[in-house]
């Protein structure tokens, strides 16, 4: 059962802007993944994010909970909050990846700015709807990387998980459109 999306008066302009932002970030994310594949996969054989799950867990890479956004039980207010927190988390992870490599850094920096702006768009809309949590989320402690390998591996992991988050966001937004 879906929470009646119409119970929350989400403006169509917000939905349209978000759809565009998702596509913009997905395009950036794809560029990052292509570069990662050509650099990290070819040279270091770090090609499959699923092989890096344990490493991610050991480094304390958090996952974004998205239980309120599942298609079986979309709870819109909770979903918006989880999406915003998820975007905020990936903004932090991308910041932690700054300086990953001279070739990847410009793409990571631009992606981080776009993700940060999208998190702000969602947060400000939640404020306008009066459903924003009382306190703005603060960035938790981000992992620190002790080797170039860790930074590359987390880069592959973050890029892949961010795309998955965005696919879910797009589905939720299409539902609202």
């Amino acid at each position: 059962p879906l929470d009646p999306a119409s119970s929350l008066p989400v403006p169509q302009s917000f939905v349209l802007k978000c759809l565009e932002q998702v596509r913009k970030i997905q395009a950036q994310g794809s560029v990052l993944q292509e570069k990662l594949v050509s650099e990290t996969c070819a040279t270091y054989q770090l090609c499959h994010p699923e092989e890096l799950a344990l490493l991610g867990h050991s480094l304390g890479i958090p996952q974004a909970p998205l239980s309120n956004c599942s298609s079986q039980g979309l709870q819109l207010t909770g979903c918006l909050s989880q999406l915003q927190s998820g975007l905020f988390l990936y903004q932090g992870l991308l910041q932690a990846l700054a300086g990953i490599s001279p070739e990847l850094s410009p793409t990571v920096d631009m992606l981080q700015l776009d993700v940060a702006n999208f998190a702000t768009t969602v947060w400000q809309q939640m404020e306008d709807l009066g459903v924003a949590p009382a306190v703005q989320p603060t960035q938790g402690t981000m992992p620190t990387f002790t080797s170039a390998f860790q930074r590359r591996a987390v880069g592959v992991l973050v890029a892949s998980r961010l795309q998955r988050l965005l696919e879910l966001v797009y589905r939720v937004l299409r539902h609202l459109a």
């Binding site: 565009e20 631009m110 700015l113 702006n117």
Partner: protein, 308 residues
């Protein structure tokens, strides 16, 4: 130093008043205890000096020259000493047809998706005859720009330029921001009207790319296009127009299509006719500006009869 002049302003606007004061210090011991301070503008003595003794014993005279109409003049602070008029200090009065800066006008901005920067340009207004600094001031805001949120570092244009680019890292895309131009010179400051915009609503779209596809039937033209690559994430609608190449025919707009449709077939055209075709696109569902028309694609219908 016996005497010292100070001026109300280093430069004055033509016809404006200027006030000067001259202080005679006590260590001019060879002077009368109550020396009378006199003023000369160029060679002419100027009446109207108001003299007073300060608590520390120094003498101060103040004079206001009502309408300065020399582009340049020298004001002297003098004392009568014996039979002569002694000049103790001199100040250059600069007055020019200078003006305070006019209000900058026609402020407009566009977002460049290649450089990811927001470029704003404006009309500086008439020459002020003085060095005038322009600064692009902006701050983040919310929906209708009534609130001021984080301010954005000033954007200082290169010398003589009437445009400035705000880099991506200072921009908050998909949110409104307020932008204004400040002009400043020695005679004053002026501010342009405020502009309230979301950078993504003023994206400058480049034209799409067109290419021909082999027509499937006589009397038809078939073409394919792709919106400008950096803007592929934007939903767009595109207009297609054509005109015969021979003669001075006007353009005929033949279709408006969403950017998701990347090809179009035109039928019912006379055979053996050369056409020029162009496409332009604009963001759909959300504010945006039309791209320029694409360069013309020249195609020719087959020599055989129309398609039914």
């Amino acid at each position: 130093e016996c005497g010292h002049i100070s001026l109300s302003a280093p430069i004055v606007h033509l016809g404006d008043p200027i006030t000067a004061s001259c202080i005679i210090s006590q260590n001019c011991s060879f002077l009368d205890p109550e020396p009378q301070i006199l003023w000369k503008l160029g060679a002419e003595q100027q009446p109207g000096g108001r003299q007073q003794r300060l608590p520390d014993g120094t003498q101060k005279s103040t004079i206001t020259l009502a309408h300065l109409n020399h582009s340049q003049a020298f004001l002297s602070c003098c004392l009568r000493w014996g039979n002569s008029l002694q000049v103790l200090d001199q100040a250059e009065l600069r007055c020019s047809p200078a003006n305070p800066p006019a209000v900058p006008s026609n402020l407009s901005c566009f977002m460049n998706l290649t450089t990811n920067s927001l470029t704003c340009q404006w009309e500086p207004g008439p020459d002020t005859h003085l060095p005038t600094n322009f600064t692009l001031k902006s701050f983040k805001s919310r929906s209708n720009c009534q609130t001021q949120e984080d301010s954005i570092p000033d954007c200082v244009p290169e010398d003589g330029q009437s445009s400035c680019s705000i880099p991506r890292k200072h921009l908050l895309l998909y949110q409104n921001m307020v932008i204004q131009v400040q002009a400043e010179n020695a005679l004053g400051t002026s501010l342009s009207p405020k502009l309230c915009l979301d950078p993504m609503d003023v994206v400058k779209l480049e034209p799409p790319t067109l290419w021909a596809v082999a027509p499937r039937q006589p009397g038809c033209l078939w073409l394919h296009w792709e919106p400008w690559k950096p803007s592929l994430f934007m939903d767009q609608k595109c207009e297609l127009r054509l005109r015969p190449q021979r003669g001075e025919a006007n353009w005929t707009q033949v279709a408006t299509l969403p950017s998701s449709i990347l090809q179009h077939e035109l039928c019912g055209l006379p055979p053996a006719t050369a056409y020029a075709l162009q496409v332009r696109c604009i963001r759909s569902h959300l504010p945006g500006h039309w791209s320029r028309w694409s360069p013309s694609l020249e195609l020719r219908t087959d020599d055989t009869a129309h398609a039914r």
